[in-house]
Every structure is written in structure tokens, then in C-alpha cells.
Symmetry: C2
Subunit: 419 residues, 2 copies
């Protein structure tokens, strides 16, 4: 079944609003095995809407529309549909009653506008609006459009989402006999090109119903493996086989085979082992601690962190040696190790991680260029001795990108320590 | 001039990704007086891309495309364009050289894929990619399409945005003979509806050539005032008058009348007064420190920060009283003040700020609900006495939104102290 989405509203064409509605509708539809082929953002002008409805209804069985439904004068969706389909508007008693009740519940007298709000397209089944006033409609477009369907919903996200979940999705699920299965493979510290080279062989011999999408993110790329077919068990098997093959080829970069952030995975590992972590950050300025605490429940394994931006702070807070700083410089593995050790002892945590580097744009030199970071990890062994690991990582972005990648490399070091 | 945008990628059709790129392009184009008439999201299938390119090029002078450009197998945009226009691909030496340099800079040998990456459409002017590998292209579509233009850019937001600002917008501005002046008004701690209400009168009586765009961001909304006309001095005057009027109406929310982040403005104020700041964070987990250090040169006024997530850390690191915690709870103005004072004394900074609150989803109660944060600020007076200020702020988002808004409220408190 072909579906497309039409989002109506000039605010989407001026950059004032981002089209989140379309993403929500796509996700909901893919859940019932209906793939969206196209999303169109269209202006508020009635003629343009009519033309777009006609184009879309000709080629797609299911056309879902958001926006331009409502009491204000720049809401032209309903009229455009009536005009195109040569349908008249009829008064919908129940819509009027429920909207009038909403008003009275707030102690307000129903405005005359409510009668117009309750006018719906003849022959449409009305979608009740549990969050607002404007009714939605499922409209059979008739023989002129091969009996395709036009579904109208308001542009207010909460109203649209409620209509999708309460009415449209249950109705849609009657149409599809296809099963779609998506799997996610999250990688860190590797670019699109490298991943692509690693799994080129797999991509060349993909089973017919399966495809791989590359989804780049701030610190790398994640993969989505999608499989489509008639019977669920077959589709799931096919999907799993491809996922397993990718995991074999690119194991060292893969931290999860589900949608999850690196900080979430690290947090689960810490919680599972009953370990605590503390942070000592220079160039990342608190970003590592912030990412660790982005995870709900992180207080279980994260209790404190230090942002030691100046050399003085590194000495006073973490006991880094003045001579170490003088001999090796703040950006050095020696200082990274000292920061981690100091953080471990000071905090009493089981593991401590540290970052010291040059985010840029200034401060670089030939042997210590912008984008270079030294990472440290200190851990108390069973016998109470403190063991230290250090590493050096290079990033090649602007300041904020470097900062983020430094924090990713630090979390990756922690992840490797835990696995 | 008619412009439309084609966003390519199945991840946009499965709800995997929200199409933020299109919104950015729309905002940028409206900046040079070009209105976008349509946005289309199209699948990765080459035939579908070719058909969409043909449709769009027929009706629009300017067709901007994002996505499907890059070294991987699901990137079909370049081939689709070549196929449609009957153009061949030619090797672009400079693209290859700069991408190879990127590799060498990382000590990696250029992969064979880089040669393919440097193949561009014959007759296109190449858009250098300052943030990544795949080159963009401005392609004259020839007489078959009334000499309209096809502009190809990668889907990675940072790469696309850099190309827009560095190359495409300067090129586009050549199409318009009008003078366009933009002003930015940055607000913090206020929503779109409140701002709208505040300046409703101004919007109703806007001079003809001037428009106001609402650009929502993570912690509020910023305004862009755009004025278009024939003569520069008149356009600038008109623009300035509207900006001044808005500043009068919404003064308390406005921290800058140019594009700048709150942390940048706070940093400039600190630097100008030669003051240093330290941070003591609980619920924000290091985000305040991280935002302060997002600004290049922040080491001038920021030397250290403490992330004290647990009560124990609040006591041991900042000397918060056990009885204070017991009597008032960690989320209280008393503890926020004690954290700020302890941070001030411990760090020796001129000003210290603190955050303690409930980001959620758990941990809320009726008198201390999720989204509540207590903020503290301590400052050493001329006579050496420590003065403390506290405040309470409420946010109504999910965990990450609350965290960000808490950090924004903390920076706002610091900003108010400095102005």
C-alpha cells in the first residue's frame, strides 16, 4: 500500500517550525507495516492545496494530511478537500456537542464559531479530537481517485498524535499484510566510509527484502537494517542473519544492537557490576559528566566529577604534580594519568576517567595540534592497587565537535574497560 | 524566484529522523529574500529520485537537495542527477586532494573510495565541504529545464549548514536585486506564545517590507527581523525601528540583539569585568560548566567546576551541612546557597553558581515536583563578605529538556548578576 503525507503550513516553509508531525506519522505507520513513500510540505494557499491533494490521491492509496484544519481564516484544508471532491459540508452533531461541552467545562459560553468547526465533509468518517476542537476526517476519495483515502488531521502535534493512536492507526492496520522489521546497530569512533568498507561484502549479497541504512550522528554512524516480507518469522530470521553478519565484521566498533546511546550502555554495565565512576575533565569542561548524568538513574553509579580547567585546579583539586605539568605539559598522557589517579583517590569511586586536550580553535602546536586529547582511566584492583591506562585520540572538527568527540572517546575508553 | 527543497533518505520516511535540514535551508533562503514553495521528502530509490528531480526542476528555478550524497551504497543522489541530465562524472582534483589531506592529517592512508568521492557532475560548480568528505554541487540543469539550477548537498547537518553559509547563500543572493537586512533578537526563559503576546501590537503594524520570524531553540525562542527594499538606508532604518520597538516591549527577556548564545554573552561580561566564575552542579551534572567552556577563550574566566551529584559529595567537596540536607532536603534554596558558598570558598573564584533540582523522570513529589530546580549564586563583595542569592525555576519537559533549561536558568541568573 502506498502512503504519503502532506504537511500544510507556511511556518514550515519559512523555517519557523520543524516538521515533527511527519516523523511521528511515519513512525506510527511503519509500526503497522505501511511504508511512507513521500512527504510533501505545502503552502497555505487553497489552490496549491487542491493541486497537491489531486497529485497525491492519484498515485497513493493513503494520503495523510496535517495542518490547515481549524477555526482560523488561514485554515483552508477542509474547503480544499470539499472543492476537489465536489463534496458538500454537513453539520456533525456529535462534534458540536463535545466541543460545546469543552467550552462549558471551562465556564465559557460556546462561541458561534463552534458550529462552523463542526461542519465536516459529506461521506467522511469523523475522527474525534480528544485534545482539541477541530475534528479529523477519513474521506473516501471516490472512483475519480481509484477509491483512495484522504485523511485530514490538525497540525497541533498533541491533537494529531491522539488521532493517530486512537483512530487512524487502528483503521490503517486493516490494510497491510506486510511485516516490516527494523534493527539498529550503534557504532562509536568510526566513520561512514570505514563501516561501509567493512560490510561491503554483506551489502552486495543482501537478501531481497532487506536493506541497510547509514544514519550518521555527532560521533560516528549507526546502521538500520530493515526487512520486509509476508511472514513475521521469516522476516525476523532474515533480519537477524544480516545483523549477526554485520556484528561479526565490525565487532570492535559496535556497542549496541538496539537504539541506545553510549552513555546508556556504559551506565548499564556500571550498574550491572555495581561499580561507580568519577570524572576529571579539562578540555571537555564537564561534558563527560553531563552525558553520564543524561541517563535516568545515573546517581546509582555516578556521584561526583571535577572540572579542572586551569593547571592550578589540576594541582589543588586532584593533586597533579607541578613538575609533571612543567615537564610534560597539561596535555600529556602523564597528566591524564595523574588526573585519573587523583580523581579516583579523591572521590573514592571504583573507576575514574580523565580528559586533557586542545578543543581549539587556538592553543595548538605542531606536536600537540588542535583536536588532540589525552585520556586517562584509573581503577582500583581487587588488591587495592591503582592501575592506570592512558590513550591519545585525534579529532578533526571545530571546537564543539572536537569537545563532543573527546567526550565520546572518553566514554568509549570506559566502555572498553567494562567489556 | 521559485525554490523547492528535496530531502532524500529513507530514515526521514520511517520516522527515524526529523527533517531539520529543510527548516534550516528555508530560514537561510528567506534571509536572502527567496521563498520556498515546497519541501519534498523522497525515498533512496534512484528511479524515484530521478522522477522527483524532473518534476521539481520543471516548475522551480532553484531546487536544493540534501542527503544521499556520500561514499556509501545507499547514496544515489549524484548518479540520479547525472542520469537525468545526461551528464557524465568527472574527477575533481581539488576535492580529492583536500579529502586525501584530511585522511593524512589523521595518519590514515587515503582509501580507494576517495577517488569515487571526488567524481562530480560535468559542468557543475563544486561546493567545497569544509566539514566532511562528500562535495556539494551547483548544477545548471540546461535548456531541457529552462536553465533552472539543481543544488546538491550532503544530509549531515553540520556539512550542509557550512555549505549553505559559505557557498550557496552567497551564490543565491546574486539572484535578488533587493536589499535585505536582518536583525537577531535573542531571548531566554520565555516561550513563543508569551513573546507573541508581548509584541502582538508591533506585528499588526509592521511596515510593508519587514517581517518577523520566530526561531524556537532548546531554551526559548529567538526572533529574526527581516526588512526588504530598494535602498539600503531606508531598509536599515525600518529594520532598526522594529527592533527597538521589540526591545522596549520584551526587554526583560532579551540578552542580545545579535546572534549569540547566552554563554557567549555571559563570558564577554565576565571577561570585560575581569571576573572569574566557578560552578557547583547537582541535577545539571556538569552541563553548566560544559556550556561555559563551549566558548573559545573561556579559560580566562572559568578555571574549575564541581559536579556534586550525591549528598555525600555535596558535603565532602563543598562543605554543605549534613543538617541542612536533612532539614531542607538536597533540592532546596538553603542547599543551593550552601553549594554556591562552598564552591566560592573552595575555588577562590569571584562568583559561584549552583544547581540542585529534579530533572526526572523519577524523584518528584507534590511539593518538589519533577522539573523543579533551586539555583544559587554566591559573590565576594568588595569588603570580602560573601553575598548569596537563590531562586527557584520550573521546567515542564522530559529529562534532557529539563536539564538544558535548568542550565539556561543558571546562566540567566549569572547574566542578571552581571548586568
Amino acid at each position: 500500500m502506498r502512503a504519503e503525507i502532506i504537511s500544510i503550513g507556511d511556518e514550515l516553509l519559512t523555517g519557523q517550525k520543524v516538521n515533527t508531525n511527519a516523523a511521528v506519522i511515519c513512525a506510527e505507520l511503519s509500526g503497522v507495516g505501511i511504508a511512507v513513500e513521500r512527504i510533501i510540505v505545502c503552502t497555505d494557499i487553497e489552490e496549491a492545496i487542491i493541486r497537491q491533494f489531486a497529485d497525491s490521491l492519484r498515485r497513493s492509496e493513503l494520503v495523510l494530511v496535517t495542518g490547515g484544519l481549524g477555526p482560523t481564516k488561514d485554515d483552508r484544508t477542509r474547503n480544499a478537500a470539499a472543492e476537489l471532491l465536489g463534496a458538500s459540508l454537513v453539520f456533525h452533531e456529535e462534534t458540536y456537542r463535545s466541543s460545546a461541552e469543552r467550552y462549558r467545562a471551562r465556564g465559557v459560553e460556546p462561541s458561534p464559531g463552534l458550529r462552523d468547526n463542526a461542519m465536516v465533509i459529506e461521506g467522511a468518517s469523523v475522527i474525534a479530537n480528544s485534545r482539541g476542537l477541530a475534528p479529523g476526517m477519513i474521506i473516501p476519495a471516490g472512483s475519480a481517485f481509484d477509491h483512495h483515502y484522504l485523511v485530514l488531521m490538525p497540525g497541533v502535534p498533541s491533537e494529531m498524535e491522539a488521532m493517530m493512536q486512537e483512530t487512524v492507526i487502528p483503521w490503517c492496520s486493516g490494510f497491510s499484510d506486510q511485516v516490516i522489521v527494523h534493527s539498529h546497530i550503534m557504532t562509536s569512533g568510526v566513520g561512514e566510509t570505514t563501516v561501509e568498507r567493512k560490510i561491503a561484502g554483506i551489502e552486495e549479497s543482501l537478501p531481497g527484502g532487506t536493506s541497510i541504512a547509514y544514519l550518521p550522528h555527532q560521533a560516528g554512524v549507526s546502521l538500520r537494517v530493515s526487512s520486509v516480507g509476508a511472514d513475521r518469522s521469516g522476516v525476523e530470521r532474515e533480519n537477524r542473519q544480516v545483523v549477526d553478519a554485520i556484528c561479526r565484521e565490525a565487532a570492535e566498533y559496535i556497542y549496541a544492537t538496539r537504539e541506545a546511546t553510549l552513555e546508556e550502555v556504559v551506565g548499564e554495565l556500571l550498574a550491572a557490576e555495581g561499580l561507580t565512576v568519577a570524572t576529571a575533565e579539562s578540555c571537555t569542561g564537564g561534558l563527560v559528566a553531563s552525558r553520564l548524568t543524561d541517563v535516568a538513574g545515573s546517581s546509582q553509579y555516578f556521584q561526583r566529577g571535577y572540572v579542572v580547567y586551569s593547571n592550578e585546579a589540576k594541582q589543588q583539586v586532584l593533586g597533579v604534580g607541578k613538575e609533571q605539568l612543567a615537564a610534560h605539559g597539561a596535555v600529556s598522557e602523564v597528566v591524564a594519568a595523574a588526573m585519573a589517579r587523583g580523581c579516583l583517590l579523591e572521590s573514592g569511586a571504583d573507576i575514574a576517567v580523565s580528559t586533557t586536550g586542545i578543543a581549539g580553535p587556538g592553543g595548538g602546536s605542531s606536536e600537540k595540534p588542535v583536536g588532540m586529547v589525552c585520556l586517562g582511566l584509573a581503577r582500583r584492583d581487587a588488591d587495592g592497587n591503582v592501575r592506570e591506562v592512558t590513550s591519545v585520540f585525534r579529532s578533526h572538527g571545530d571546537r564543539s565537535r572536537n569537545k563532543y568527540r573527546f567526550s565520546e572517546a572518553c566514554l568509549r575508553m570506559l566502555w572498553q574497560e567494562l567489556t
